[in-house]
C-alpha cells in the first residue's frame, strides 16, 4: 500500500467535496499544511467547515481560503490576527464556532480515539457552555464537549517514513497530531520522506496508522511575529 503521493493535488484526489468537515493542524502560521491548503484553493471546493485553532493570516495559510470564500464555518479558539476573518464574521458571511483552545485539541483527540464526548471544567458559566449538558462530578460542574470526527485531516510534520510514521519539530507539533487522528482520511505533508528504519521507533510522535497519504514539498514557513533580543542584553 503506497502512501507516498507525487503532489498535494494527487494526494487530495477523490477526497474533497463541497460542504465537508476538514480538521487542520498548525498553531498560528507554525506547522501549517501550506501545500495542502494551496491545493484546496486550487480545487475550488466550497462551503467548507474547518476545525483549526486559527485561520491563518490575511493572504497566507487558511487565510487564502477566506479570501476565496471557500469556508462556510470555522471551529477555532483565536481569530485575532486576521482582518478578513473578522470582517466576514461580523458581516455574517462566515459562521464561527468558538472553542477554547484546549477543548478544541481534546475534541480532536477524542474523535480520533473513538470518544464521542467528555466532560471539562473549561468554559463552565460562560457563553461556551450555552446549550451544553452540565454534569456534576465531586460536587463541581463540568460541561459535555463532543469529539470531532472529520472527513479529512490536513496536517504537516517534519519527517515521515514511507509507512506513515511521523516526527514533528519543536512547537510545530502543536495541533497536528490530534488533527491527524480525528480524520477519516489523513493527508500529511512533510519536509522529508525517509525509509522505514530511519526514524527511531521510540521517537515516533504519530504512528503511521493515522496517516493515509503523504507528500513532500518546500515550505515557506512564514514567521508571524519575529521577536528578538539584542546581543547587548546578554
Amino acid at each position: 500500500m503506497k502512501k507516498v503521493y507525487g503532489s498535494a493535488a494527487e494526494a487530495l484526489d477523490g477526497l474533497l467535496r463541497d460542504d465537508m468537515l476538514i480538521a487542520a493542524g498548525g498553531f498560528g502560521l507554525c506547522g501549517i499544511p501550506e501545500l495542502l491548503i494551496d491545493a484546496i484553493v486550487e480545487s475550488g471546493v466550497k462551503d467548507l467547515t474547518i476545525a483549526s485553532n486559527n485561520c491563518g493570516v490575511d493572504g497566507f495559510g487558511l487565510g487564502k481560503l477566506l479570501d476565496t470564500k471557500q469556508i462556510k464555518k470555522m471551529m477555532s479558539s483565536y481569530v485575532g490576527e486576521n482582518a478578513e476573518f473578522m470582517r466576514q464574521y461580523l458581516s455574517g458571511e462566515l459562521e464561527l464556532e468558538f472553542n477554547p483552545q484546549g477543548t478544541l485539541a481534546e475534541r480532536m483527540r477524542a474523535g480520533g480515539c473513538g470518544i464521542p464526548g467528555f466532560y471539562t471544567k473549561t468554559g463552565v458559566g460562560t457563553q461556551i457552555a450555552e446549550g451544553k449538558e452540565v454534569k456534576q462530578f465531586g460536587g463541581e460542574d463540568y460541561i459535555l464537549e463532543e469529539g470531532i470526527f472529520a472527513e479529512l485531516s490536513i496536517v504537516k510534520a517534519w519527517k515521515a517514513d514511507t509507512s506513515g510514521n511521523c516526527v514533528f519539530r519543536k512547537t510545530a507539533r502543536n495541533f497536528n497530531p490530534p488533527a491527524a487522528m480525528c480524520g477519516k482520511i489523513c493527508v500529511m505533508e512533510v519536509e522529508e520522506i525517509v525509509e522505514p528504519g530511519e526514524l527511531d521507533p521510540d521517537h515516533i510522535h504519530l504512528p503511521g496508522i493515522f496517516v493515509h497519504r503523504i507528500i513532500k514539498g518546500e515550505h515557506e514557513k512564514r514567521i508571524e511575529k519575529v521577536t528578538t533580543r539584542s546581543r547587548e542584553d546578554a
Binding site: 498553531f27 498560528g28 502560521l29 507554525c30 506547522g31 485553532n53 477555532s76 479558539s77 483565536y78 481569530v79 485575532g80 490576527e81 473578522m86 464574521y89 461580523l90 464561527l96 468558538f98 477554547p100 483552545q101 484546549g102 477543548t103 478544541l104 485539541a105 481534546e106 480532536m108 483527540r109 471539562t120 471544567k121 473549561t122 468554559g123 463552565v124 458559566g125 460562560t126 457563553q127 461556551i128 517534519w158 514533528f168 519539530r169 519543536k170 512547537t171 510545530a172 507539533r173 502543536n174 495541533f175 497536528n176 497530531p177 490530534p178 510522535h205 514557513k221 512564514r222 514567521i223 508571524e224 511575529k225 519575529v226 521577536t227 528578538t228 533580543r229 539584542s230 546581543r231 546578554a234
Partner: protein, 208 residues
Amino acid sequence: MPWDRNQMAARAAEELEDGMYVNLGIGIPTLVANYVGDKEITLQSENGMLGMGPFPYEGEEDPDLINAGKQTITELPKTAYFDSAMSFGMIRGGKIAAAILGAMEVAENGDLANWMIPGKLVKGMGGAMDLVAGVGRVIVVMDHTNKHGDSKLLKACTLPLTGTGVVDRIITNFGVLDVVEGGLKIVELAEGVTEDELRAATEATIVN
C-alpha cells in the same frame, strides 16, 4: 505615583516560588519573566512547550519555535515539546501552579472577562478559558482603570466571561488585591498610591 508596566511585572514575579510551573499571558505578563531572578521557574507555553527560553538573537529565529503569542523564542536545556492535547492536559489537569494573565474586567467574585467585546472586538479566548479553569492560582495583571478612567475592577463583569470565580489575585498599577469572601481585599498599595485613591478608582466592593 502608580506602578508602571515593569513595576507591575516585577510585583507579579514576587508571586512565583522556586520550582513552580507557570503560564504567562500576552502583554505585561510576558514581562514577568524578566523579574524572576534566581528562582527556578519553568514557563509553559500552551502551544506545546515546557521550559520556554528568551527571545532569540537576531538572525537566529526559528519558524518552528514560537510561543503562544506567536513570537519567536528559544529553548532551554530542560525544554520538552508536546502536542496541544497534551499541553492542555497538563493545564486542565492542574499541573500548572499559576497563570498570570491580562484582563479587560475582573469582578469582585473572581469572574474574569478578557476575550471579546461584542460587536467590536472578536479575538477569541485562545487558551485563556482552559488556563483559568485548570491552573492552581490565577493572577491578573492589568491597569486599574480603562482609557476612559473607569474601574476595571467591577461589582459584576459586563463583557462575556472567560471564567467564573476564577481569579485569586489582581495586580494593578494601584496595588495588589485578593478576591475574598464578600469582595476584594487590599493586600498592598503601589508606592505613592493612597488607600483612598485606590478605593476611589475601584467600583468593586472592597472589604477589610
